[in-house]
Symmetry: C2
Subunit: 309 residues, 2 copies
């Protein structure tokens, strides 16, 4: 259970925030909950080595590498090559953690995962790929459990404080965090709007992936109600994953100075900006919740990037 | 109240940690509690502008600048000049916060503070210097209240969990955090050892300053018991404030990778290393508490410093 509190108001909406960035392991964030779930599943399946995948700025990579080191489990990170200069903090932390790092071109991730699975099997290991098959699918419903639990925490907060959030906003990348929240909401049947602000994907792709994971999750649990609406906004992606702009950097700086709140321009900054604009666009004047999904190293990457440019 | 949990064991001692680095404002840390106290005192005294002082890596400067911006209070930071290359994260955050920054040579801090007080008074302001007089003294007992409160939280945790920490370890700079804890312990009469690991000062100077503040604080409250022992270890300062070494960097890297715990080489890393050595030296085999006093930007300064060197 992480801190939730009223942060500010904006155009009549009271904005509350749930600080999952303060989960006390490896700079926190949603990936701590998600990796914990994956590790539990891994143990249940009798596996003894873990493989992760992500970009050089991936928070999942960092958390997975640290949690594997903490538990003494061999870990390989398949890292997507890119041409960005310098070394992002998350890549650095992964490399310092003792994890094996395999750089792969974006078009050869599947091969990279398969080769690493084979290599580990030849060493007598039972490897576990955090996303399921080498296509990166199959494990969605395991990972979603993490934010179905977090959804319960949100409901418990509302009950305790006598408040109701009409909307929840969050950064949505692969969408598993949003899908977990949606599953929680569907099972409660509370019909609230859960808006993912895309950090990379198009609306079509994001909605499809989340919808498919959500249907699988709910079907496993015998759910026969109506599916909640999947709101995945891609207007705030800007130039794409990792790309920032002046409005975004200004917002991140302002929120840190004036509210002591760290936001990074890759994930949570985009989501926060998207939330403010959705509040304006829809004229929301009720309490809403922003889920801070972490990504602290990106706050410092941005600061150093500015300094070096 | 921040997270407290069992972190690890070391040579028979169970090490618990209190994560004040996760206080949800401006990257957390002991300075958030201390600045909140100072701001309350400022309001009670009818002042309407605030002046802080510290090095370019000072966490107090950053927190003060952010909290002043949050509350709409004009803020000046008197910043001690040094010849270190680059710009530390904390200096950067102060400059971005909208605070006025006055650089001062180490031998002209007092003049800098006095000039700024005069300038603000001429503008019709009632300025408040966070350390008291322009000599930097007089406000100790106000600031100490912050960690007398935190001491109560520690005792509440012990009672709830049925545990007793024989020792508390923490990084000690100006010593006000340690003095606050000692005041809490004295008023309870629980005779536990509270060990400050110096990040800069000699044992003589540290002990003197803490002793004087502690006596003033207790005397204001009519305390007539015996003073607790002031333990201020200066063996782990290394080459001085801000200077690191290989053993220290290795420990910081290890604690992040293997325990997901960020430590910086200026403050908390030194304290953690000192604690481990004190446990070995004294053969401590009981539960002890490490107070994590924050300083997160320094974790990233260290990472970038390594990368650039």
């Amino acid at each position: 259970m992480t801190d939730t509190y009223r942060l500010m108001s904006h155009k009549g909406a009271d904005i509350y925030i749930k600080r999952d960035d303060l989960i006390p392991f490896s700079f926190g964030g949603n990936k701590v909950r998600i990796v914990e779930r994956a590790m539990r599943d891994m143990a249940e399946k009798g596996c003894d080595a873990v493989i992760g995948y992500g970009s050089r700025t991936s928070n999942l990579n960092r958390v997975l590498a640290h949690m594997a080191a903490h538990r003494g489990i061999p870990c390989t990170i398949i890292m997507k090559e890119d041409k960005a200069p310098g070394m992002p903090m998350n890549e650095r932390f992964v490399r310092e953690s003792g994890a094996s790092v395999v750089m792969c071109r974006p078009d050869s991730i599947r091969t990279g995962v398969e080769q690493e699975m084979s290599r580990l099997r030849e060493l007598g290991r039972r490897p576990y790929y955090i996303y399921g098959s080498s296509l990166g699918t199959g494990n969605e419903t395991v990972l979603m459990d993490a934010y179905r639990d977090a959804y319960e925490e949100i409901c418990a907060y509302e009950e305790r404080e006598g408040i109701h959030f009409t909307h929840i906003f969050l950064a949505s990348g692969t969408g598993m965090t949003q899908a977990g929240l949606l599953a929680g909401s569907a099972l409660k049947g509370d019909g609230r709007q859960i808006t993912g602000i895309s950090v990379a994907r198009t609306r079509e792709r994001g909605t499809e992936v989340i919808g498919s994971a959500l249907r699988a999750y709910l079907s496993e649990r015998g759910f026969d109600g109506s599916l909640p609406e999947i709101i995945f906004r891609d207007e705030y992606v800007g130039e794409g994953y990792g790309a920032g702009n002046r409005e975004l950097s200004e917002l991140c700086r302002h929120m840190l100075s004036a509210y002591g709140l760290p936001l990074d321009p890759i994930y949570t900054g985009k989501a926060f900006l998207g939330m403010l604009k959705e509040i304006e666009r829809k004229g929301i004047d009720t309490p809403v919740l922003f889920l801070h999904t972490g990504g602290l190293p990106g706050v410092f990457d941005a600061a150093y990037g500015d300094m070096l440019s």
